[in-house]
């Protein structure tokens, strides 16, 4: 391949793909059995991190940034005046293989602008994956975008070569989508998602009977929503997210704080801050839902439609439900332990194991790694020292904030710092 031409394309098409946040490379179980290149059985690996602190695990590029759509929030929208480029299938294959051989990446994340039609685009994405698997003996990770509107046949073929498929719904509500991307319909996003979900279920069932059944998208499906572009509140966002987890068996929903890239007056203007703290709180809520046994309605509901920015969502829930506390760490079940602010799931498992040998006191808990700064107001242990005052939620929150420094301090303080 011509080095200079490839170099230029890579710059353009990596730059255009960077707003897709998914970087996961785990959960595939594609073993290197043919003495080929690559293995995707273990946990995912982040080979590097960009200066914005996001992980680099896959070669994340667009096949092309030519696009027939004009979605306001998208940097490759038709009406945007940017340099356009398109990779040849072989160029993507060569880049992937050579980056992989040098241990730069776990595999390929291939997305694309839509040129000509959905099927025409999807066909080319599938061609890249097929070539990698069948000609290059590549067993690394492949994440393909499902192009909204692509035919069922193509989606099935895609699932046979890719480890993960994803389609980004981008805008959490139908109303928002209508405003910012009038050419697109929610149904077009859902259709490939349903197809992939059904195929995964079917292939899994067949594999139980016939062992040689090939893998179908073994790392499942994911999607992404843009945060702060179309005015949705946290309650609406998490409801949508919960719906997608439940109805389409998604592995992940990603939340991406909107990075202003356009002067369109329907959107936050260029120069306005990326809502990174809010994005963080949404991820915390997502984790509480998926790993900590919370139902989304406990954290966000009609009465509480916004996540607190100054404290994490679990602490915020605990302050609203003081009647559930204090919890005795030496006797409580896993469900309640996981609900104590300042206790992660790792600490929960350590406590459950350790307390079989002796009753735990503050010293033990501190060494295990519990964030006592938050946890101390919500628990008792083998010690006669515990919070005996009858504190109000506001008081507890005040005490915790007083004794901690948030990495988001700068964003939280509304005061202007004159000499900063």
């Amino acid at each position: 391949m011509s080095f200079q031409r490839t170099q230029e394309k890579l710059k353009i098409l990596a730059d255009a793909a960077k707003y897709d946040v998914s970087c996961s490379s785990s959960g595939s179980q594609r073993a290197n059995t043919n003495k080929g290149l690559g293995d995707a059985t273990g946990m995912g690996i982040c080979h590097s991190y960009t200066e914005d602190g996001r992980c680099v695990s896959l070669l994340k590029i667009l096949l092309t940034n030519h696009c027939i759509f004009d979605c306001a929030y998208c940097v490759t929208r038709k009406s945007n005046d940017v340099k356009r480029a398109a990779f040849k299938v072989q160029e993507v294959v060569d880049l992937t293989i050579n980056f992989y051989r040098r241990n730069y990446i776990e595999g390929l994340f291939l997305s694309s602008g839509i040129f000509k039609s959905a099927d025409y685009t999807m066909e080319r994405l599938v061609a890249v994956a097929k070539k990698l698997r069948t000609e290059e003996n590549f067993n690394g990770y492949i994440h393909l975008k499902s192009i909204p509107g692509a035919s069922d046949d193509l989606m099935r073929e895609a699932g046979l070569y890719a480890d993960r498929l994803s389609v980004n719904i981008e805008i959490p509500t139908k109303a928002g989508l209508k405003k910012l991307a009038p050419d697109k319909k929610r149904e077009d996003f859902i259709k490939p998602m349903v197809k992939v979900k059904n195929e995964i279920i079917q292939y899994k069932a067949e594999k139980k009977i016939i062992k040689s059944t090939p893998k179908f998208a073994p790392a499942g499906q994911s999607t992404q929503m843009i945060i702060g572009a179309s005015g949705e509140n946290d309650f609406q966002i998490m409801q949508t997210s919960n719906h997608f987890y439940k109805s389409y068996n998604l592995k992940r929903v990603y939340y991406s704080g909107y990075v202003p890239i356009s002067y369109d007056n329907r959107l936050p203007q260029i120069g306005s801050a990326v809502p990174m703290l809010r994005e963080n709180r949404l991820y915390q809520t997502d984790w509480l839902m998926r790993f900590y046994g919370f139902d989304v309605s406990e954290i966000l509901n009609e009465q509480h439609q916004h996540l607190d920015l100054d404290v994490d969502p679990k602490l915020s829930w605990a302050l609203r439900n003081l009647h559930e506390f204090p919890v005795d760490v030496n006797t409580a079940d896993q469900r309640m332990l996981a609900r104590i602010p300042g206790l992660g799931m790792k600490s929960v498992f350590k406590i459950i194991n350790a307390r079989r040998f002796r009753r735990l006191n503050w010293e033990h808990l501190k060494k295990i790694g519990v964030a006592l700064n938050r946890a101390q107001y919500f628990m008792v242990c083998e010690s006669n020292q515990f919070e005996k005052r009858d504190l109000t939620p506001e008081k507890i929150k005040g005490l915790i904030l007083q004794n901690s420094t948030s990495k988001y301090q700068k964003m939280l303080s509304n005061q202007l710092s004159l000499f900063g």
């Binding site: 290149l37 960009t50 914005d52 602190g53 992980c55 040998f357």
Partner: protein, 257 residues
């Protein structure tokens, strides 16, 4: 009783032989030291331990019986940390484990067990980092060469990962700090030592040793690394926490142009 200093050869089998000796002689007060770093105690008695595979195997069998799979790998991981004094900690752990009816490696309220679990975790983290941060460069004789300087001796732990992954290319991973490496010849992995020219700069990609296309792909990778960054989200503190500066030396994307 006077403390005995037991000196072993630095290998894991050597360490296990030492543990065998401690139990055989019913010693209560000992200090186990690696012969490369041993400090001579003025008034203490020194015993040099001979490594015997058979004895080592017997101890290891006992470890597996008394600890869960996780407990025994934590023990090995912690040993590879090469932290000064870790041998004594491991002995304390094993004494406690051998003396109990039940498996105790989940007893995180016991100081030695928690400490070993924590050290093993650091070693595991370093292992994972090396799986991420090795950067292969293609040499003129078609071998993918990667150099590392890990905090802990993790080469034995990463061998399997790289063998499975790069089954169809020859590669070398060399630990510059400890002066040995792994070489995969498309069939098996061997330990190897290499003599490098004096003042050899491992961070430079020199056209005397490396293939021409190597320069192009490094350039492409650096360009990619820059293009995929979102400037308005820049967060160097987070960046450095994930990629600590001591690893930058050998990362192709962090090399100055």
């Amino acid at each position: 009783m006077e403390t005995k200093h037991l000196i072993y050869d630095g290998t894991f089998d050597g360490f296990l032989s030492t543990v065998f000796y401690v139990f055989e002689q019913r010693l209560t007060s000992v200090k186990i030291q690696n012969k490369f770093t041993a400090q001579q105690g003025l008034f203490s008695e020194n015993v040099t331990i001979i490594t015997e595979e058979e004895k080592a195997n017997r101890v290891w069998k006992g470890v597996k019986l008394k600890l869960s799979a996780q407990g025994s790998y934590q023990l090995y991981y912690a040993f590879l940390s090469e932290i000064s004094g870790v041998e004594d900690l491991l002995l304390d752990y094993m004494r406690y484990a051998f003396g109990q009816q039940h498996k105790v490696d989940n007893d995180y309220s016991h100081p030695s067990i928690l400490k070993i679990a924590q050290i093993a975790k650091s070693v595991g983290r370093e292992k994972h980092r090396m799986e991420a941060f090795v950067r292969f460069r293609l040499t003129k004789d078609q071998i993918y060469f990667g150099s590392i300087e890990p905090d802990f001796n993790v080469l034995p732990l990463i061998e399997k990962h790289f063998k499975r992954r790069y089954a169809d290319q020859k590669w070398v991973i060399y630990d510059i700090k400890r002066g040995y490496g792994l070489f995969y010849d498309l069939e098996k992995v061997d330990l190897m030592h290499m003599d490098f020219p004096e003042h050899f700069d491992f961070t430079k990609t020199d056209d005397a040793f490396f293939a021409m296309q190597e320069f192009e792909f490094q350039k492409l990778w650096q360009d990619y690394f820059k293009a995929t960054n979102i400037e308005s989200r820049k967060n160097m503190k987070l960046h450095i926490r994930h990629v600590p500066k001591r690893y930058w030396k050998y990362l192709s994307e962090k090399q100055p142009n």
